[in-house]
Symmetry: C2
Subunit: 309 residues, 2 copies
Amino acid sequence: MNEFELIARLSRGLPTNPAVVTGSGDDCAVLDFGLPEKLFLFKTDALVEGIHFTRGMAPEKIGHKALARCLSDIAAMAGMPDAALVTLGLPENFDPALIEKIYNGLNALARKYQVAVVGGEITANPGHIFMSVAVLGTVPRGKQVLRSGARPGDAIFVTGDLGGSILEKHLEFEPRIAEAQWLARHFPIHAMADLSDGLAGDLRHILQSSGVGAEILKTALPVSRAAKLHAKKSPGKSPVIAALTDGEDFELLFTVAGGDAVRLLDAWKKQFPKLKLSCIGKIVAAAGLVIRDQAGPHKLDAHGYLHFA
Amino acid sequence: MNEFELIARLSRGLPTNPAVVTGSGDDCAVLDFGLPEKLFLFKTDALVEGIHFTRGMAPEKIGHKALARCLSDIAAMAGMPDAALVTLGLPENFDPALIEKIYNGLNALARKYQVAVVGGEITANPGHIFMSVAVLGTVPRGKQVLRSGARPGDAIFVTGDLGGSILEKHLEFEPRIAEAQWLARHFPIHAMADLSDGLAGDLRHILQSSGVGAEILKTALPVSRAAKLHAKKSPGKSPVIAALTDGEDFELLFTVAGGDAVRLLDAWKKQFPKLKLSCIGKIVAAAGLVIRDQAGPHKLDAHGYLHFA
């Protein structure tokens, strides 16, 4: 049983109450506490030494990443973050200076987005550092963007370049809060997610939640320089596969009606001239994810290879 | 540098914003999002295998404890819990059945208090289980009870029996939500905290936050049967010292004006006939914690011994 199967099993029959608008299964939970103009967003995300970072990395960047992951999820709902709690599990002989540097990185990002760090906990954790951040945010009532709203005919967009994040970007990425705010204010965004599990994985979450399929144009994928570098070191892995399957891009993946696509691309270039926006394909009615190139349609298998469909 | 010194150092200059009513340093953070009648409570708490539980313990109780610890903090602010997120770090060869049982215990407690479990995360954690729960709750605006409101002349109360929780109670305790709600509705509670670090430790937090001291009557301490049992196994540790210093009692510790004390005790007996409430001493102006017996006043030293003051 893998992570996703276990989550599916645990997600059945979770306790709920009338405050829940959207429970588990999206980027954030959405809660209604009766505030006329706002709904609440609630999210937690963990960072484990040896898995999400190693002791040799700059501690400020580890703190940055711990909070930025949660902020990326808030962004993916078109929300704004308000407050954060930090849980820190520390091995026996932790270096206080290291912990302070982790906090410095986290606090710097919090200040940038006016997020209050309102406490947390420090506990022992044998062997390695475990960080967990919980974030509370808000979104204008009714303006939250879920994964479940994609419709056949939608254009699929992705910000930035994809793949090879492990080389550097996973520790330095900027949560796309400003971009998501602007998108939600100016266009009817049908579905949105942030890229944490890799484009193919996160797009599948949107497709399954929405009950649709997608066709991606291989040549339209914004393959990063890092993906090309990283692919060179991984025999059998092409840069395109890296862009499709590497995790932790933390870019925005979203869909809008096909008729809005050109207007959106034009407006984006004026608003965010430094950040690439790519239309990578379209939503279709038939379930499944198809990658198309000159040779025809391909399916991406579980091992990260493209096969003729 | 111990946990408290590190927290003090990290707590200086944390990022804040206008939503923060009370930041780190109390049982929960208190946030104001403009809801006319309510403020929000935000809390996170972690449970680490080998420290807070061991693999041999009933997994349902581990799940119960993980959520109950947070609910105890919500209770200590006189609040009600609304939603929870669960972070679960799992070793490589976790047993899915074990994880389901942990969730069953957590979910049962959530249902009892109408807490929605709205998601969370499962991640790898080499070597052992790490659980972190974040809870969002609410409190009627202005009715939150802080640690900082104790005044000289206040009577100090504690619910239940103290000490020896490690033998059983730490896995089975009931968060005192109903009791705290009733207290806050019927009496002006000056200060309140839940007992997680031991009576002496948590009372010191109240004293330091309030800028006062306390005199505890040794004979008034509600020493549990478990404290007596546990003290027998720990050479040099008396049951009274166990009641003063053992952690994880998860009872309520609070102060009211001395003039309210008798009326409160009478009303409590009618409302909660099965749960003991003890008046254990009084708040005084002079800083410090004094334990008084027939021989006179004593000070509790850092090693858990009583010395003549």
